[in-house]
Symmetry: none
Subunit: 416 residues, 2 copies
Amino acid sequence: MKVEIITIGDEILIGQIVDTNSAWMAQALGDIGIRVHQISSISDQEAHIFKALVEAEGRVEVIIMTGGLGPTKDDITKHSLAKYFGVGMKQDKEALENVTSIFARFNMPLLEVNKNQAMVPENCQVLQNLKGTAPGMWFEERGKIYISLPGVPHEMKGLMESEVIPKLLEKGNLPALVHQTLLTAGIGESFLAQKLEPIEEALPRHIKLAYLPKLGQVRLRLTAFGASKPELEKEVEGFTQKIMEIVSDHLIWKGDGTLSQAILARLESLKKTFATAESCTGGYIAREITSVPGASKSYLGGLVPYSNALKIQLLGVKEETLTKFGAVSEETVREMVKGLLERIGADFGIATSGIAGPDGGTKDKPVGIVWVAWGGKGIIQAKKFQFGKDRLVNIERSATVALTQFLTFLKEVPLE
Amino acid sequence: MKVEIITIGDEILIGQIVDTNSAWMAQALGDIGIRVHQISSISDQEAHIFKALVEAEGRVEVIIMTGGLGPTKDDITKHSLAKYFGVGMKQDKEALENVTSIFARFNMPLLEVNKNQAMVPENCQVLQNLKGTAPGMWFEERGKIYISLPGVPHEMKGLMESEVIPKLLEKGNLPALVHQTLLTAGIGESFLAQKLEPIEEALPRHIKLAYLPKLGQVRLRLTAFGASKPELEKEVEGFTQKIMEIVSDHLIWKGDGTLSQAILARLESLKKTFATAESCTGGYIAREITSVPGASKSYLGGLVPYSNALKIQLLGVKEETLTKFGAVSEETVREMVKGLLERIGADFGIATSGIAGPDGGTKDKPVGIVWVAWGGKGIIQAKKFQFGKDRLVNIERSATVALTQFLTFLKEVPLE
């Protein structure tokens, strides 16, 4: 089964937004053994939609469209589809109830344009959108499947997971597919590839190894296709074990997890708490940690002491330290961790201080310099990093190295 | 002049990478009045490249391809193009010198595969790539222009700026293009559309209004095409002013800006400071604020007092308040803001407390309930919101409403 993704809307064509939906959908479809053959981004004009549909029909069996389902005039997807299939519109009762209940929940009056969101082409099956007012739509015509989803990422994802993926699986004839993911950090893609060369050479044709790099992290993904799922699982687990042995120094998590999840899981086993003090990362670490459900079990909280005065007041960093060594220094980040342990009462702590940029660098401390410290009572460790000039990249990289160092440290802390 | 961008390579189709190149190229082309008509992402197979080229020729005058120009076996773009045009390959002297000098600079031996990078189809003009070993290529055939660029972002950007844009400008006859963006918050897309209906009806055919919604925010974008840039600018500014009047209550920013930028700009005008205390948003607000360069001018810092003990210790929230009303209550968020003003010494503060989910709700306080407070000395305001069940969505929505309420409040604070 081959799929074409068609994104509808000028915002992609003028470069106002980066199309992250397609990559997410391609991964989700790949996970169930469905290959994306082409991605086409087109404008929100009826003629263009028609032409793209005709072309896609010549290439694939399933066409997934995103975008153009909002209540405003530039949202023309569903009327274009009705015209394309030569059918009228109908009101969908469930979709109307959904819109009505969403507006009721937010205490807002229901406008006529919103009621119109429950209107869909007569020949479609409605895919109920629990995260928004625009229903998804599923058409089977001319031996092909056409799916229309909203372009808002969390609505699209919700519909893909709750409706599209299960319905495509029902269509059957999909090969068995097994994935395994390993998260590594602190080692580059090409070095990993070098270490894993013998494994790659030993992989049979039906198992693929992919490298998915992100700032400071590389996710390794094994994908296997075949007839028997249990056999594939056994085979993949064998290779996974071999890879884990080879990359053990850099392995963070087996499965689809994050650094934050690994840290929280480890702290739960240790029955210990931790806290964060972030200057240059400005809340990035706190946000990553608290995005994990149940983080409050081990995470007491965080400080973002952006000003020096707050570093002194909240964490007891000595004024002398700041004057003598500066806010971006080993001494300061060590005292920040000390403050987390002594003042906040955490068992462990992480601290960051750096110059994220684009301005604020000096000759001795150029933009991109970052000090990170981490530890617990009696052992505080610190390390300096030098990154580039891009503020957002520096913040993300700093957070990643801080979390990686902290996790590596936690792995050595014995269970009680 | 209309352009189609064709990205060649499986990494986009399997979702391994997000295609950021196309958005960058679309913006760069839009800046000189060239419209991207379609973006197609295809696999690195000769037959697929041929088919995509034939289709694109039916749509546009200029086809820009990226990807498939590396030294490895899966990079087939230039051989496919030679075959497509029915020509042989030639060695380009300048391109060979470029490859040789790059390898010499890094002290690496020049392999045969690298020398092959200087081989190009006979009918192309070479676009010298100063940032990498794969030359760009420019073809004029059958009344169309075909451009092939490497997929590595900084190489593609370098070639676009130094070669492609200047050569396209030479071709002349480009229409002028003008964009204007307005950021609104706290009003849904459909309500905005209702308010702006008279404007939409008054818009001439060459000016388009688009609605780009995100959680809690909607970006409005006017796009105009025409012969004279100054005239278009005047026209667009006229409509922009009318829209700004109509949506003034919800207007955050004129231009491509964020809520955080608007808040920081306002505080800089007021010469005041602020701080944040986030329970349920867990650092999301701090991160948004500190992602803006120069945030430290007005932002003293933030607290993420996840545990009740920290709410008491750091912000002076009364134990009695927490016991009597709970951490998720109007009383608690008000005391959190008070703590920011009195203990942290900020002129203004924002506080959030809620149940982000997916667990932790009760009958009285279901998942998705969020209390937000904001204010300065003498005036603290608070508001309750009820969101859904998705943790990450609740966090983002809570941060957006908190920042929106705070900005609305700040707009009323008089300049000194």
